[in-house]
Amino acid sequence: MICCVRTPHPSLVAAWLKAPTLRGRSLVIGGLAHERASVTTASAEARGQGVVEGMGLNQAQQFTPDAIFQPVDEEATARVRQFLLSTLHHFTPDVAAAEDPGCAFLKLDRLALRWPDRSALLAAISRAIDAVIRVTPTIGVASSIFVSKLAADHATVGVPVIVEPEKTCAYLSRYPIDVLPLDDDLREYLELLGLRTIGRLQTISRHAFRRQFGQKALDIYDLAHGNDRRRLRPFRPPVRIEASEPLEPPVDNTEALQFIARALAERVSASLLAQGLGTRVVRITLIQESAPPLPIEVRFAYPMTTAGELFDGIRPRLLRASIVAPLERITMRAGRLEAAYVRQPGLLIRRDGFKESIADAVARLQEEYGPSLVQRAEVQADAAPLADHRVLWKPA
């Protein structure tokens, strides 16, 4: 059985998480009202007033003059989607993202032993998602992706729709053919023949359907009977490589700190090597005894893997760190993971196979020498004719 978990569009959820007061209000995501863009998604209140996805923002404003218009926060949206998938991944590794950004699927077959009561499992999934993204999903369970998604679309919050395999045809028969992924021609043909519901379509034999509409239309016929041959593409959660070491008694000299940092670099390096990865950012957190934690970030131009390379970058930053109290713990985390094999082409082609972007190079220089090293200038034409007023220097 496949379970489809449906939440509102992640960009809408992201906006609600950022400003909870927006819940219950008419909210349109896609851009500001005066922009020439289209609606990405809208809250139920805005939809109730006629706003639909893909509509121009100007038009949407005419429908809902009081609505709040917001641009899509891509980063927060991706984070919400990641949260949703990661939460489901805690239940089973058989999790897949759907094309619809608010949807995710999980296979329930391997959960029968752990969760003999399916309704308890569905309630636990619902609670887990609510705890992470503050939204209660609608849930549909069926034997295929298509039917489970349809069930989730028509379920209400807190009441999952479960379609047992033997009842799939009966469940689908009540829906109009519009729920099937039909192209315009096929829809027109079916309507001309008076086939407006899936139930009517199910009455036709497979052979007759193929003869009338061709081989390609058989996929639609199969979907109408609940047979969906699509397979779930498993979601893989992001890899987190981290090593941490408590310091007992607290360390207050740099020699010992370097020694421990080297050991942690070796542990991080071993994890990276085991997964064939390299890191471009190492984040170190030094927990001080009676002072706030001291974060250190070391960037590399290329994905580094070996302990020696990592420690060469880390050591000068550790020596320069302004440590004010003995250290209780040191944590080292590898960020921006990339496949380590990208270094290999360097053996064959000029420059060692890949190039650092200018933005990365500037970030690395600023981190090393301070933000004022590389700057961008902006001329303010309407300011007073004094150099200090007219030219605005900003870190690049």
Partner: protein, 225 residues
């Protein structure tokens, strides 16, 4: 080219240096300087790519203006960097000269080592042209930095321009592929008495890519641009 002819050219190059016969086609790609007279003067149609060009001359001889016009021309095509050791760059002047400020990175290093490291990193990252405005005081350690810098610039096809007010060191003279010396000639006035511009003599003191010794007089219009 036949081997015997190549051998003969090698012998002549050994004996006469840059005055020996050379291929008519430019041996090195060039980046337009934004000033037609300078493009003609260099012999290859602009600043050599992946090499170091030095603009030398006393203060007020126009070399910085020429370099900044080259920065403007390069900024219209890609990313450029200006390493401003003396901290006297005027972005408004650059903008008036047609520089795209959103393509310009200004590096203001505290020491020569910081500056040269920045140039190496930016060259490698894909900046097309880097203009280095050196401090007037003697730059200790520059001779050790230049070979690394040139290696990186050649690898990344980055054009390096070096502006130096004082008499250049032997190291700079050695590593530069092109040295243009600027000398202020005279102010030029219109008939109505308004200032038209500054007349500058530019001489190719050294050129590894075309015959050196070429001189040209050019007018830097006033107000600039």
């Amino acid at each position: 080219m036949p081997d015997r002819l190549q051998q003969a050219i090698t012998v002549l190059q050994t004996r006469f240096g840059s005055a020996a016969p050379r291929p008519a086609a430019p041996p090195c790609p060039a980046r337009p300087s934004g000033v037609a007279e300078i493009d003609a003067l260099t012999g290859i149609g602009g600043w050599p790519v992946g090499r170091l060009s030095l603009l030398a001359g006393q203060k007020g001889s126009g070399k910085r203006t020429i370099a900044q016009q080259s920065v403007a021309a390069a900024s219209r095509e890609g990313a450029v960097a200006y390493v401003d050791f003396p901290s006297r760059l005027d972005p408004e002047f650059l903008q008036r000269g047609g520089t795209r400020l959103d393509h310009l990175l200004v590096v203001r290093p505290k020491s020569l080592k910081d500056g040269m490291t920045s140039v190496r990193v930016l060259a490698r990252a894909g900046v097309d042209l880097i203009c280095i405005d050196l401090p007037r005081t003697r730059s200790a350690g520059l001779d050790a930095e230049l070979p690394h810098l040139l290696h990186r610039a050649a690898e990344a096809d980055c054009t390096l321009l070096l502006i130096h007010d004082a008499e250049p060191d032997d190291a700079i003279r050695y590593y530069a592929s092109l040295i243009l010396a600027f000398q202020r000639n005279t102010w030029v006035f219109r008939r109505d008495g308004d200032l038209e511009g500054l007349l500058v003599d530019a001489t190719v003191v050294k050129n590894r890519l075309a015959p050196p010794g070429v001189k040209r007089r050019l007018l830097i219009p006033y107000p600039i641009p």
